[in-house]
Subunit: 185 residues, 2 copies
């Protein structure tokens, strides 16, 4: 009864591997690949709690569908908390491990920049604006998990040019500050 157990387990291990590598595989194909009947495949899936093909596809689809949407929707990086057009705005952003350099666990600069830039765009009362000039200073490296609070302040408006200062804090310490000149188009 030892040899049989091993055979079964080995098959189920293979089954898991095949499905992980290709969630789009049918029971029929699995039955071919593992040289057992389709019923055995189904018993194995049940035992392992692996859902059927259509459900697997749906899971993959929904996971990524939401990711893509939130990514493309986020014209504002972070969440806008307060906005007074042409004056000031506040947003927050929760940092996570997807934003860091592997080596250092420090949040990549462009995420912080994106937060600042998008807030400075939001605070401007213009249909469309682009970034013209930016001066940035990173004071303290930000670690994954820290909550960032960005405050934007419009300091000057000259025709179609908007001068905006953005300060970003993590627990009351300033980690970043910047000046932007935005141009309305």
């Amino acid at each position: 009864m030892l040899k049989t157990k091993t055979a079964k387990q080995a098959r189920q291990d293979q089954l898991i591997e095949i499905i992980e590598n290709d969630p789009f595989v049918t029971d029929d194909s699995l039955s071919d690949q593992l040289k057992v009947s389709i019923q055995t495949i189904r018993l194995d899936r049940m035992m392992l709690g692996i859902p059927e093909l259509r459900t697997r596809i749906k899971v993959v689809a929904k996971e990524n569908y939401n990711k893509v949407r939130t990514l493309s929707q986020s014209e504002i990086v972070g969440e806008l908390l307060d906005l007074e057009l042409n004056n000031r705005a506040i947003s927050v952003l929760d940092t996570d491990v997807s934003m860091v350099f592997e080596k250092t666990q420090i949040v990549k600069g462009h995420h912080i920049f994106a937060m600042a830039e998008s807030l400075s765009l939001a605070v401007i009362d213009a249909e469309v604006a682009i970034t013209g000039v930016a001066n940035l200073k990173y004071n303290i490296p930000v670690k994954a998990g820290e909550k960032l609070v960005a405050k934007a302040k419009v300091t000057q408006i000259k025709e179609n040019e908007y001068y905006v200062h953005v300060f970003i804090n993590a627990h009351d310490e300033q980690v970043f500050r910047s000046k932007f000149i935005m141009k309305a188009v």
Copy 2:
């Protein structure tokens, strides 16, 4: 024949919108929402070349199944073409519609910034470095589809501080230039 055409077209327009907003909707649900029979929904889908639910889900799933990794892998934004440590480096980046503002089709500033910053990190011969200060100038808005070429040049090294200039061109026109002070840690 004008009123009917409009009714049909209006329904098909709605149908397209509903499915675009939620590809996971069944014909049955569409039939409910649009107050027509399921056969009409199916005729409409055929006419419009919209595949059935299961096919739509599969497409969404497959499209994104591969994408996830390439995104998280890219520590260098763009492709590194040439590198001479502590001296100079060149990278290219193909822009696409996922990088633009919907309204204007202009590439978001932080993508260009990310390209410049990551190249300036790459050119430095240090285990770990962080961005200290950056001065940016966006000369010309970049449109989706344009190929960006970034050139980095190390101009000065002071103890643990590296001064790097990065210029980004799109078909021989300078669209962006920047100065970074990177700090080795």
